[in-house]
Amino acid sequence: MTSWGYSISRPRSIDIDRNDMSYSKELLREYPELQTCIACGNCTAACTAANFTSFSLRKVHTLVRRGEYQGMAEELEKCMLCGKCRLACPRGINTRQIVLTIKKHLANRSR
């Protein structure tokens, strides 16, 4: 086969085919509103926890939806559940409940 000299940079690739989408699907079934997320990042901009640390809710729920769960439970532990993100979200997504649900699920999963 001809080698074109291009290759995929592994660390940068997102291979959705290889990700485990089972929980992602379940989450979206439970909270279909999350599909309306426009990734605007308001939730992260408003975030109380993000004032002190690099925590980003947008990043977490985007990764989870993509089937990448590693480290997400620990990341969500940083959330203070203050609810600012919910008030800031232009799509009216119940972000606090999303935090709680993902945490609950990932905790059960690692048991």
């Binding site: 509103e33 408003a46 109380t48 926890a49 004032n51 002190f52 640390t53 532990e77 940083k78 203070m80 559940l81 203050c82 609810g83 600012k84 008030l87 800031a88 009216g92 997504i93 119940n94 606090r96 409940q97 709680l100 945490k103 905790a107």
Partner: protein
């Protein structure tokens, strides 16, 4: 044993079972109380608390005075069952005692007195008359209860509780008891009318009653007379239907007693120990205790808490209200969906005639399922100090005020006008007060934030802490234990500035209506301070439901389950009610309420601080 009849057995079986079950439950729960809780109880016994409890039991368990206040017909229904039955039993005891001159007779003679003893039908004041009158009182109550099933609105209730099978069995038995008793006593009377009877006395000379006189009084006696004429003599003589009626009465009693501990009727007895424990100072806490069991089983599922719940009236969310929450928790089938779907607005608690601590119970249900808290959680806030400025007065904006910068700006103007030097705890972003986390059940994690903020307050040596968020206010007052620091809501602080003459406002003729935030009003008992401040600025128009009965904005941080649509519908409900006052703008004293109501309001919504700052 010559008077023993088989039909008394179901009653006995039920009564013994009931007694054992009740004792077992109450002792088990009492033993499970913490040492401190038990100490409180024992200590309260020789004090006035005991008299208070006895009085309260008469007022609430027997007379149901609080339900009368909700609706007189509903009150009558509850009182007729409780007081009527209680008196019926008491009069029965006295009658037996008088009749047998204090001699001991088997319990069944007392319970089934009219079967054994036939006091002559006289048109005079006697025990039979009292008992018939009481029976009539209860039968009217049964009629009303049936009527309530069909048309609850007449009793001031739009919605009634949906009951479970166990409740239905107990309910059917309960409703059957009194008509069965009427029938049984009347049939016995019929027999005496027709064939005469005897008056059973302890002495030898048993009196005989000739036919045509009958026994009982205006109810059982008259019905007996009618039955005596109506039924064929053959049937009366055979006694089958008479005995049958007594069997039904006894079985109804037995079934009711056996079903009682598993049904809502457990409240009849449980309210009494609850009143004693509550007056001794026991309270539910953020972690479950067996004291909660007394509260949960004291719920009669009367359903009075359903109508005030805006999840139901505003957002059409059913099955999560206090009554259903308590039911599910009692039978161990509480789901997250029910535990989480509550605004903790306290409207149900306000209406509940039993005074059950709905919010705390809901909270400790949530806390129970929380995962153990990782020790390094929130390590990232350690050693941080986001505060600015210096002063004896500290101001804590809280997450919600930071999202509504106009309130923050208004507070800055007010502080400047009053020449107050202020320490700003979190002007540039701070750590959450911890209440949202606590309300979600993560009680231990919330402690970390509370400790962080508390240390910060102490480090900067403030003596007064002002906050514009009632949610923060509540947690500062209830969980922080800030010795030496006075905690004030900004409404109280502004009121004080006005009283001290440190702030001068230009009064106008604008009309305002005021929305009581739940956490400030029902949650904190602060109703007057914001009203006085508004009165200094313009004219205040109260909405229909106000103060203790105020509506919730629907955006409560306590409800993690409700979706955006539901929140909007509740906001719409309260916005409409507020606009109906005809005021030109809505004032509230909570940043979250402001945001919530403003979403649906047609007139402008301000925080108290904003209208004050405008008038400086």
């Amino acid at each position: 044993m010559e008077h023993f009849r088989l039909f008394v057995l179901p009653f006995y079986a039920g009564a013994i079972f009931l007694l054992i079950t009740l004792l077992f439950k109450y002792i088990y729960w009492f033993v499970g109380l913490s040492r401190e809780q038990k100490r409180l109880f024992w200590r309260s016994l020789p004090t006035r608390a005991t008299w208070k409890s006895i009085l309260e039991i008469i007022n609430e368990s027997l007379l149901h005075r609080k339900i009368w206040r909700t609706n007189p017909l509903l009150g009558y229904m509850h009182t007729s069952f409780a007081l009527g039955w209680f008196l019926l039993i008491t009069v029965g005891w006295i009658e037996t005692y008088v009749y047998f001159k204090g001699e001991g007779v088997p319990l069944y003679v007392d319970i089934f007195f009219s079967y054994y003893v036939h006091p002559i039908f006289e048109r005079a004041f006697n025990f039979s008359l009292i008992k018939d009158a009481l029976l009539l009182l209860i039968l009217i109550g049964v009629g009303l209860a049936l009527f309530k099933r069909i048309r609850s609105r007449v009793m001031g209730m739009k919605r009634t509780t949906k009951h479970m099978l166990g409740d239905r069995i107990a309910l059917t038995a309960l409703w059957l008891i009194f008509p069965a008793r009427l029938l049984a006593e009347s049939l016995t009377s019929a027999e005496v009318w027709r064939f005469g009877g005897y008056v059973w006395t302890l002495s030898e000379n048993t009196q005989l009653i000739p036919p045509g006189i009958g026994c009982g009084s205006f109810l059982t006696g008259s019905l007996g007379q009618w039955l005596a004429n109506f039924l064929p003599a053959r049937i009366i003589e055979a006694q089958h239907i008479e005995l049958g009626a007594w069997w039904i009465y006894s079985i109804a009693l037995g079934v009711f007693f056996i079903a009682l501990p598993f049904s809502r009727y457990m409240h009849i007895f449980t309210e009494m120990p609850l009143i004693f424990l509550r007056n001794a100072g026991l309270r539910a806490s953020e972690k479950e205790t067996t004291y909660d069991r007394f509260q949960i089983d004291a719920c009669s599922r009367c359903g009075i808490c359903i109508d005030p719940c805006q999840l139901q009236s505003g957002a059409d969310i059913q099955g999560v209200q206090a009554v259903y929450f308590l039911r599910d928790r009692r039978y161990g089938r509480l789901t997250d969906a029910v535990a989480d779907n509550c605004l903790m607005c306290g409207r149900c608690q306000q209406a509940c005639p039993v005074g059950i601590e709905q919010n705390t119970l809901r909270l400790n249900s949530r806390a129970k399922r929380a995962y153990p808290d990782a020790p390094n959680r929130y390590a990232y806030i350690q050693g941080k100090d986001p505060s600015t400025g210096e002063g004896k007065v500290g101001y804590f904006a809280g997450c919600m005020t930071l999202l509504t910068p106009r309130i923050l700006l208004a507070m800055e103007q007010i502080f400047a006008a009053a020449h107050e030097t202020v320490w700003w705890a979190d002007k540039n972003g701070g750590v959450c007060c911890g209440r949202p986390l606590k309300l979600a059940g993560e009680v231990d994690a919330a402690r970390k934030m509370m400790n962080f903020n508390k240390e910060l307050f102490q480090k900067h040596g403030i003596t007064t802490l002002v906050t514009s968020c009632p949610i923060c206010l509540k947690v500062f007052k209830e969980d922080y234990q800030l010795e030496g620091i006075e905690v004030l809501h900004h409404s109280e602080y502004i009121q004080r500035l006005l009283a001290e003459g440190r702030l001068h406002l230009h009064a106008g003729s604008e009309t305002f209506t005021y929305h009581d935030p739940c956490e400030l009003g029902r949650g904190g008992g602060i109703y007057d301070a914001p009203r006085e401040v508004i009165a200094a600025l313009g004219i205040l128009k109260e909405p229909a439901e106000t103060r203790e009965h105020a509506l919730c904005c629907g955006s409560s941080i306590a409800n993690t389950a409700i979706d955006d649509e539901g929140q909007r519908r509740i906001s719409g409900q309260v916005a409409t009610a507020l606009a109906a006052t005809g005021a030109t703008s809505i004032v509230t004293a909570c940043p979250l309420c402001k945001k919530g109501i403003a979403r649906e309001a047609t007139i402008p919504v301000y925080d108290l601080a904003e209208i004050v700052a405008r008038a400086i």
